[in-house]
């Protein structure tokens, strides 16, 4: 082995050893790297109940209601399996819509309602013009009706 090959082997070895240790560390911190919990995880008591944490999912269709003062909102976050009721006072981001992604930060009270002090919109990776989106929606509706028939 020439010295420079030896040197190269040492470099390759150290980088791979480092990569392995990083993988192990990230695995160990898996739960801390999660930005939000799904309603199912909350139902399974995997979320830190009693402390402030984030819940993420879709805003349930037809669940958004404004109460009293007009700045307090009630809605539900769902992952299609479990549902969490959320109460939030403040300004909602532009992309907040029923049926779209959302991440809310707050605490679960004893009554099982999630009191959020921050609501963020999470959108998906699809980019298309409105006409294409409308066409897709039409197609989905048509498919739904053909299934029920």
């Amino acid at each position: 082995m020439k010295p420079r090959h030896k040197k190269m082997a040492v470099i390759a070895l150290s980088v791979s050893a480092l990569a392995v240790s990083v993988v192990l560390v990230l695995n160990a911190f898996q739960s801390n790297l999660v930005f939000f919990f799904s309603p199912s995880q909350v139902a399974a008591k995997e979320a830190p109940i009693g402390k402030s944490f984030r819940v993420g999912g879709l805003v349930e269709e037809g669940s958004l209601k404004r109460v009293g003062d007009g700045t307090t909102m009630k809605f539900a976050i769902t992952d299609t399996a479990e549902v969490i009721k959320v109460v939030y006072t403040g300004i909602l981001p532009d992309l907040f819509k029923e049926g779209k992604g959302v991440v809310a930060q707050g605490k679960i009270a004893d009554d099982g309602v999630f009191y959020a002090d921050e609501v963020l919109a999470k959108h998906d990776e699809n980019y298309m013009p409105p006409e294409a989106a409308a066409a897709l929606e039409q197609a989905a509706k048509a498919q739904k009706t053909s299934f029920t028939q």
Partner: protein, 247 residues
């Protein structure tokens, strides 16, 4: 005919070769930039959920890609320099860092500007954003470490260690949106799936990426030439260059 590649590993011949290449890449950079921006602003349609705000992707995505890609290239050349003691490789690595840092900063900054109206926040500590911030700090760390050491040979070695250690961060950035729940959305474009974007949007983004590539090549070649001049200032060919003997 075989090309003697080792000839261009000598800083002196690379200096002249790079000087001849710069104008071509600069021309390409300008062409791609003009075409890409035109498509981005006038051809690509409005997005169905984000409206006009999505147009940030024409800068944001190329910048984020370049910041990751340049880091890998920088680590590669720094590693080659460390293993084979080739001076030019280390100089190229040092020349890449500022451009990479600029792109990392641009990705973070445009992301924050877009995040406020779209997500409702400038910044969150999710895995994608945090790992990209670490990438920016790695670039800054590489540059400050090299700047802090006077002896170029030792500076190259120390920088190479940082560059190689930091390279594990790049796959973390890329896969963060798959491995963990993040606020940042998943990849719209990947090698294994068909793109989840309208064609006009995608072509604008890819042309802007080519522009970012060409710009990076121009900047890196130019900066490498400056580093060569600085480090070889005591050699005969640089003095000849100064006196106008060499062209």
């Amino acid at each position: 005919m075989t090309i003697n590649w080792f000839k261009y590993a000598s800083p002196a011949s690379f200096y002249f070769l790079a000087g001849r290449m710069v104008p071509y890449f600069a021309t390409l950079a300008i062409i791609f930039l003009v075409v890409g921006l035109y498509i981005g602003f006038f051809v690509a349609p409005t997005d169905f959920q984000q409206g006009e705000a999505y147009r940030i992707i024409f800068i944001h995505v190329p910048a984020a890609w370049m910041s990751m890609f340049l880091y890998v290239i920088m680590a590669f050349w720094a590693g080659v320099g460390l293993a084979f003691n080739t001076r030019l490789s280390s100089m190229v690595a040092s020349a890449i860092a500022p451009t990479g840092a600029m792109f990392a900063f641009l990705a973070l900054w445009t992301g924050a500007w877009w995040g406020k109206p779209m997500w409702g926040t400038w910044w969150v500590w999710d895995a994608r954003l945090t790992s990209e911030l670490i990438l920016f700090f790695l670039y800054i760390g590489f540059m400050s470490l090299q700047a802090a050491i006077d002896d170029p040979k030792r500076a190259d070695k120390a920088g190479a260690v940082i560059a190689l250690v930091g390279v594990v961060n790049v796959p973390i950035i890329y896969f963060s949106v798959q491995w963990w729940n993040t606020l940042h959305q998943g990849a719209s474009v990947s090698l294994v799936q068909s793109p989840k974007m309208a064609t006009a949007m995608l072509s604008g983004m890819l042309i802007m990426t080519l522009a970012a590539w060409m710009y990076s090549i121009v900047m890196i070649l130019t900066r490498t030439r400056l580093i060569i001049l600085e480090r070889e200032r005591h050699t005969a060919w640089v003095s000849e260059l100064k006196e106008g003997v060499l062209e």
